[in-house]
């Protein structure tokens, strides 16, 4: 069962890789002939900020419309295939996580390898759910699949461990409550960084910047809708994260004898929490520009990554699953 899980992870990585390549093809084809007029109108309703909305401002090429639309069709096809492969990858990923859990006879969150496996799975599933509601965001899939390939390959190469039962300290009902909510909210925060970065690029594009990263945004949805999505994901995740931290404190009280002790993980959770609270405040304050607020969200994401990876590598604390 454990070996099956490992193989499934490998296949999932391959599927993500294919999805990523298809997304890249979609980009390449789409940008080669940037005049496709029929972007889904629903999403692209006049983006307010820069005044220049949607793809309208691409130079009107006199190229033969037939060729244009053929390349556009092909781009769209590539995009659809990419989504198909992402879904396949998600299915394999799910199977890998479930078999790992079955093999270990517990929730698959006992160590960092399993934790990364689970978080990235939630991230993909949430992404597919977002895509279901807003198909026009499809192009962001390039970022997402890239992150997935990197994350899973890293987990497979650097974090892999054999299955072992839980440490006594982890045997508690709070294990499920705390870890599932932390995992879920971390996944949504990570996913939230994708539209956040896309917004920053797109926003620059809409303000007339045409240098390297901004050109990527040519075919992205309007800045305002990306920003909105960023906010929705963060606002959704923040209370769950808050709950997870509180649940962690309750657990720490019974396991370590104190609800809060500034262990490195606790310290970084506090930092993330404060930064995300800062993001929500900045966004609720009209005098703070939206791109400033979004940068705060990205800083928040970096602090989460620091907590997920950095803290486990650089510091020793009660969370590093060492000793009693």
């Amino acid at each position: 069962m454990s070996a099956l899980s490992d193989q499934l992870v490998t296949f999932a990585i391959l599927a993500y890789l294919v999805a990523m390549i298809c997304h890249a093809v979609e980009y390449a084809l789409g940008n080669a002939r940037a005049v496709v007029p029929a972007a889904p109108a629903r999403e692209l309703v006049g983006a307010g900020v820069g005044g220049s909305g949607g793809p309208v401002d691409a130079p009107a090429t006199p190229a033969a419309p037939a060729r244009v639309s053929r390349s556009g069709d092909r781009a769209r096809l590539a995009g659809r295939v990419a989504v198909g492969f992402t879904a396949l990858a998600a299915a394999l990923h799910l199977a890998a996580t479930v078999t790992r859990g079955v093999a270990a006879d517990r929730m698959p969150w006992g160590n960092m390898y399993e934790f990364v496996l689970t978080i990235s799975l939630i991230c993909t599933v949430a992404w597919l759910a977002v895509l279901w509601k807003r198909p026009s965001l499809r192009r962001l899939g390039l970022f997402l699949t890239l992150v997935m390939v990197l994350l899973l390959a890293f987990a497979e190469l650097k974090l892999y461990v054999e299955i072992v039962p839980l440490m006594p300290a982890l045997k508690s009902a709070w294990f499920i409550v705390h870890v599932s909510t932390i995992g879920f909210s971390s996944a949504i925060f990570l996913l939230g960084a994708v539209p956040a970065i896309a917004f920053l690029i797109r926003n620059g594009y809409e303000q007339g910047k045409r240098s390297f990263p901004y050109t990527l945004a040519q075919r992205l949805p309007g800045a305002a809708s990306l920003e909105r999505l960023t906010f929705v994901l963060h606002a959704f995740s923040f209370p769950i994260f808050t709950f997870a931290v509180i649940a962690g404190a309750i657990w720490a009280e019974s396991a370590w004898g104190r609800p809060w002790g500034w262990d490195p993980k606790e310290t970084w959770a506090f930092i993330s929490w404060v930064v995300y609270a800062g993001y929500l405040h900045a966004r609720a304050t009209p005098s703070v520009k939206r791109n400033v607020a979004t940068w705060i969200a990205i800083v928040g994401c970096l602090t989460m990554l620091m907590n997920l990876f950095g803290v486990n590598f650089f510091f020793t604390g009660l969370h590093s699953y060492a000793g009693m």
Binding site: G46, P165, R228, S287
Partner: protein, 574 residues
């Protein structure tokens, strides 16, 4: 009242005074600056940044040994860092300054908002603006049938709105309604809970106490809860030693289970508890389920072994040491310790003790000793092949000088100045005896388990729990609540202001204003208008009524444009 919270904006209505008091003005300005959202944001960031060194550098409260190591490794840097409190970040002046400022700012922010909100909860939804068509949402319903005077229609509209849990007021032919007070309520609950959490922290540090100690199995090692019994204790400023609740614990049993890989699987301690006013009882506790004794909780932190070493001196008198050997974080429980016998070799003839004939054994205890030398490290945490590896010393242990030494180590000064001499070393399995040069004998009898405990009392834990719960609930309200207003104006048939309504029907005009960022408002508004259009009872007959809902005009469908609007338009709309 608005949701915009940039406080400096409020300065405007202040009338210029003739002779402004500079100091007062400065104070007022500083206060305004402090309570502005911008300042709060900056303070939040400072707080986040200030917390970082707390995770990078070792902290005294978390791992004092690591701080000492740091001092050894960085002899130049460490004292300088220490001076600025870098090893106690979370208790340092600058960290406290940031959060105290933040909380002052928070209080300065909450108080006016609380006042405003209470006022808002008591006032009725405001009268309709003159021109409803200027609002973000607007719709006109024509052909709504009415027979009687306009009053019946407003009542019907009001009833429908109330059914949807709007707060409604009817003024003449107008209905004003507002909903979503929960947002601000949640917001205030959230921020007040934050203050409560901070209060809880303060209470805990004043009235709480905690102590750590080690408890060896057996009735002769029982521990009773007094200040002197703890090796390390932190007692809050407002706690008297007499406040510690009386109870006694005896470790009767300790179970540990490990996998073959050495990874621990289970720890469980069983203790006999004697508590004032209650019959003695036996309880078990483990890592995730502490022993809760009312005013104190007992947590299991670690465990190890205390070798039983029986020494028979040159005159044939026997003494037994059962001192715990400490583990040094090694997963296989290799432990180190000392068995000191200061009162041996008393000459039976004179009854005098010779201070230079004291004996001590220092060394290792290996729960699973290897088959071959070197005997320096245990191979497994349980006792599969227990052995002690000891060095014997004879001489003056230096215990009489009154200098408190560690009970886990020999006084090395005595060794280096030659007053204490090494007389051999040996590995002993259980039951083995070692005869020293003077004919005295050491026997390794066996071991007893010990556990390390933390005993704590935190009087604020309930407050913290409740306020965290409130914080979470308030947070949801603040994030997901949506304040919005709608107005309905009903113009009876024939009213010139209503354009040219058909005879026997009236014109209903509706406007809506979301007061917070709320992209779904357009949909809600459209549904509301449709429900009211369809629901207005027409006495003239169902034929007219049926058509009412269909004739929806206006901009209700346009709501999507709103989500692209620049930030803050809604908030500023008032």
């Amino acid at each position: 009242m608005t949701t915009v919270t940039d406080r400096p904006g409020r300065a405007a209505p202040e009338a210029p005074r003739r002779r402004p008091n500079r100091l007062l003005a400065l104070l007022r300005n500083s206060w305004r600056q402090l309570t502005s959202m911008r300042t709060a944001l900056i303070l939040l960031f400072l707080l986040a940044v200030a917390a970082i060194p707390g995770s990078v550098l070792p902290q005294r409260g978390v791992s004092p040994e690591k701080v000492n190591e740091y001092f050894v490794e960085h002899p130049d840097l460490a004292p300088r860092l220490d001076r600025i409190g870098a090893f106690e970040v979370f208790g340092s002046v600058w960290f406290s300054a940031i959060y105290l400022l933040l909380f002052t700012s928070l209080i300065g922010c909450i108080v006016p908002r609380l006042r405003d909100h209470v006022r808002a909860l008591r006032t009725k939804p405001p009268a309709a603006p003159k021109r409803l068509d200027r609002l973000p949402q607007h719709a006109v319903l024509t052909g709504v049938a009415v027979a009687g005077p306009g009053a019946t229609d407003t009542e019907a509209v009001a009833a429908e709105l109330r059914r949807r849990r709007w707060r409604v007021v009817v003024r003449g032919n107008e209905v004003s309604a507002e909903k979503g007070y929960l947002k601000e309520t949640g917001n205030l609950v959230f921020h007040i809970s934050l203050i409560a959490v901070l209060l809880g922290v303060a209470l805990g540090s004043w009235y709480g106490w905690q102590g750590n100690r080690l408890l060896v199995a057996g009735a002769e090692n029982a521990f009773c809860n007094t200040r002197q019994q703890y090796s390390e204790a932190q007692v809050g400023a407002r706690v008297d030693n007499a406040d510690l609740p009386p109870f006694c614990l005896t470790l009767s049993r300790f179970d540990a289970r490990f996998l073959d890989s050495g990874q621990p699987e289970l720890y469980r301690a069983t203790v006999d508890v004697e508590q004032a006013g209650r019959p003695a009882r036996t309880e078990s506790f483990s890592v995730n389920s502490p022993l809760r004794l009312g005013d104190a909780n007992v947590y299991l932190l670690g465990h190890g072994y205390a070798p039983i070493l029986r020494y028979t001196d040159r005159y044939g008198k026997t003494q037994t040491s059962n001192f715990p050997f400490l583990t040094s974080g090694d997963a296989t429980l290799t432990s180190e310790g000392v068995a000191a016998f200061p009162d041996v070799n008393v000459d039976p003839a004179t009854g005098k003790r010779d201070a230079n004939l004291q004996v001590a054994f220092e060394g290792l205890y290996l729960p699973t000793a290897p088959q071959q030398p070197p005997f320096t490290r245990s191979e497994f945490p349980t006792e599969r092949n227990p052995a002690v590896v000891l060095v014997a010393y004879r001489g003056n242990l230096g215990m009489d000088a009154g200098i408190p030494g560690s009970v886990y180590q020999l006084d090395q000064r005595q060794v280096s100045n030659g007053k204490l001499q090494q007389i051999g070393d040996k590995k002993l399995a259980v039951g083995e005896k070692w005869t020293l040069d003077d004919g005295s004998v050491l026997e390794f009898v066996g071991t007893k388990p010990y556990i390390t405990l933390s005993v704590r009392h935190d009087p604020s834990s309930t407050l913290m729990l409740v306020s965290s719960g409130a914080l979470l609930i308030g947070l949801m309200g603040a994030l997901f609540g949506r304040r919005r207003r709608v107005w309905f104006r009903i113009t009876p048939a024939g009213d010139p202001a209503g354009g040219t309504p058909t005879a026997g029907s009236s014109l209903v005009e509706a406007g809506g204003l979301p007061r917070t960022d709320y992209p779904g408002f357009a949909d809600e508004f459209a549904q509301l208008v449709a429900a009211i259009g369809g629901g207005v009872p027409g006495d003239a007959g169902p034929a007219d009524g049926a058509s009412a809902a269909g004739k929806l005009t206006g901009r209700a469908g346009e709501g999507r444009a709103e989500e692209t609007g620049p930030a803050g338009t809604r908030e500023g709309a008032e």
